[in-house]
């Protein structure tokens, strides 16, 4: 069963050519030409990844992403033709996991898609220094204040209630949890969570941290000005 991608793009040539290119890489691609059709398709089917253009007739990509995030934590990759602050920041604020700027090479697009899919299927290594009282049937949950992370089942609870995290948010939280109390530079996070080299955009990190803070409590992740972020124990 191939990985299924929902591509929402209004430009016919891009829609067809990206679909054909992704199919060559073995993905199953469903396409929609506007936001509302995209939303309908999303509600009817199940997709492993959503590839959304920002500028769409009717419901735009940012609005569509926000609607999708209301009910789902599926990975979302935005495609922007502008790449300016407004497009990128609003897309990431709406809950997108990453963005690419058009025109994008198929190889780059596929690399971004693979990185994003790796986050969905991510299983952390066994905890670096497991507590001595680890139960034999799985690692004990990591606890930070009212936050508890079940690294085995990949579930996060805040004050006992489950928190729904998008794959990138979860991956970011696990990265923090692996280094509690240690400052992680944006560059490190871009490399470890998003698989970026030097070409990553640190706004991706900043906005994902913002979204994560909204879900797990703002005080949990501390900003260290000029360096990065750290998880408060």
């Amino acid at each position: 069963m191939p990985v299924s991608v929902l591509l929402v793009e209004d430009d016919k040539v891009i829609r067809r050519s990206v679909a054909l290119a992704l199919e060559r890489y073995g993905y199953g691609v469903t396409t929609a030409e506007d936001g509302l059709t995209g939303l309908e398709l999303f509600r009817e089917g199940r997709y492993d990844l959503l590839l959304l253009d920002v500028m769409l007739p009717g419901l735009d990509g940012i609005g569509l992403c926000r609607r999708i995030r209301e009910t789902s934590t599926d990975p979302v990759l935005m495609m922007s033709a502008r790449g300016d602050a407004l497009d990128v920041v609003s897309g990431l604020e709406a809950g997108a996991d990453d963005y690419v700027v058009k025109p994008v090479d198929t190889s780059v697009l596929v690399a971004r898609i693979r990185s994003l899919l790796r986050r969905t299927t991510f299983r952390p290594d066994p905890a670096p220094d497991p507590p001595p009282d680890t139960a034999p049937d799985g690692p004990a949950p990591l606890v930070f204040g009212d936050l508890s992370i079940d690294t085995g089942g990949l579930e996060v609870f805040r004050a006992g209630r489950p928190v729904a995290l998008a794959p990138t948010e979860l991956r970011l939280l696990l990265e923090f949890a692996a280094h509690p109390g240690i400052v992680l530079e944006r560059q490190t996070l871009l490399r470890n969570v998003w698989d970026y080299g030097w070409d990553g955009d640190s706004r991706v990190v900043d906005l994902c941290v913002q979204r994560l803070r909204k879900k797990i409590g703002a005080e949990r992740i501390e900003t260290v000005r000029g360096f990065g972020y750290k998880l408060r124990r």
Partner: protein, 428 residues
């Protein structure tokens, strides 16, 4: 604090001009009023003195000059009084001939033509007039001593508002287009007018910039959408010579569009650096590794710099590509074998060097200009690369110098801020 002192010491400041004006007008008023008072007191004192002198004369004549105070004949009175009495029956004269003892004379020509006169002491009058003058001078000076500092203080208020307008205008000039004087709501004087004008000027500048940016964004969207279709479709074509030709041109078109958009973003001054601490050597190595042609790279030490790696990458790629395009192959080797460009990284300095004819003189003199390649032998390329490198260097606060090495070849030196001691730019 030092600024305040300098401002206070600036004698050409509006504050001191206003204070001087106030002082001059106060002095003029005091002088006029003083003169008028002085004159009228003098006249009254003369009239009083004359009346006293006449009544004394009357008294002395009535009593038959029993006290012997009367002066008889022209010889005993001031000559001027005698002269006056020849033309009039009665006359008086203020006599100041004796210092500190002024006297008022009243005289009469008696029926027989005999002149008689009497002096009255005017010392108390003179003393009281002098006291009055002294008082007027003293209190005028006192009033000035109070009014001039008050005027300077009062002038401080409009001064301060003017300075704020000047500061705001300075900030707008420096690029902070969001700066406003915010002095619109106050009383409608000239300062409010100029403040409002500065604000509206900034508004219109900002509006123009915003529409410029919107235009760039729209152009970006309109160009990139078909370009993306072209890029992806070209990628789907079956391999072959024709496909390679198409892909090559699509690549050129794409590079040109991206460069143009980058130049216009840099021109709009809307770019902000995304600073991170990065190992300079690694970023440069990654950048040159992606270029697809051999580059001789030497990295000394492991310099860490705080910069925007994406912009640094753009600068290095543009400099190296430019050097590769214009650089010659080293002697004794064939094209495509040996690297034409050498890149050296030391401390916070990246220098890119080729063995070509060097930068043309016009480029060294005027800096890179878009679409100007400078000389016929540099005809390839569109001249945007160095413009972009210069613009991006400005965004990350680095200094980019272009020069020709004495032994030939172009040398571009990029000095990153805070990169430790600078290394000599044109090493071999």
């Amino acid at each position: 604090m030092r600024g305040l002192v300098r401002e206070t010491a600036n004698w050409r400041s509006l504050r001191w001009r206003i204070a001087l004006l106030v002082a001059v007008s106060c002095c003029a008023i005091a002088l006029t009023v003083g003169l008028l008072v002085h004159r009228s007191t003098y006249e009254r004192s003369m009239n009083d003195g004359a009346a006293r002198a006449y009544s004394a004369l009357e008294g002395a004549l009535d009593s038959g000059d029993e006290d012997g105070v009367l002066a008889y004949g022209a010889g005993e009175m001031p000559p001027e009084l005698a002269r006056r009495l020849r033309s009039a029956d009665e006359a008086h004269l203020y006599d100041e001939s004796r210092a500190y003892r002024p006297r008022m004379w009243a005289g009469r020509r008696l029926d027989g033509g005999r002149l008689v006169a009497i002096p009255v002491d005017m010392v108390p009058d003179q003393l009281s007039r002098r006291a009055l003058d002294r008082h007027m001078v003293k209190y005028s000076l006192l009033a000035l001593a109070v009014i001039v500092p008050l005027a300077a203080l009062a002038a401080e208020l409009p001064n301060r508002r003017l300075r704020r307008v000047a500061r705001t205008a300075g900030r707008i000039t420096a690029g902070d287009l969001g700066a406003r004087t915010g002095a619109g709501g106050r009383a409608g004087d000239e300062i409010t007018d100029i403040a409002a004008t500065v604000d509206s000027m900034a508004d219109s500048l900002q509006g123009r910039l915003v529409s410029e940016q919107r235009f760039t964004a729209d152009v970006a969207h309109e160009l990139r959408t078909p370009l993306m279709g072209l890029v992806t479709s070209a990628g789907l074509l079956p391999e072959g010579e024709a496909t390679d030709l198409v892909r090559d041109r699509v690549g050129v078109l794409r590079g040109l569009v991206e460069d143009l958009l980058e130049v216009s973003r840099l021109d709009a001054d809307a770019e902000r650096a995304d600073l991170r601490r990065v190992p300079l050597g690694e970023v440069v190595a990654d950048a040159v590794a992606r270029l697809g042609f051999p580059v001789e790279l030497t990295v000394e030490g492991a310099p860490l710099v705080e910069t925007d790696p994406r912009r640094l990458d753009r600068i290095v790629v543009n400099l190296v590509t430019n050097a590769h395009r214009h650089g010659a192959v080293p002697d004794g080797t064939r094209a495509g074998e040996a690297p034409r460009v050498s890149v050296a990284v030391r401390d916070g300095v990246v220098s890119v060097r080729d063995r070509g004819p060097g930068f043309p003189a016009v480029l060294l003199a005027e800096g890179p200009q878009r679409f100007r390649t400078g000389a016929a032998e540099r005809g390839r390329g569109h001249g945007l690369g160095l413009t972009i490198a210069t613009g991006q260097a400005r965004v990350i606060g680095a200094e980019l110098t272009l020069a020709n090495a004495p032994e030939g070849g172009a040398v571009a030196t990029l000095r990153l801020p805070g990169g430790g001691p600078g290394a000599p730019a044109d090493r071999g």
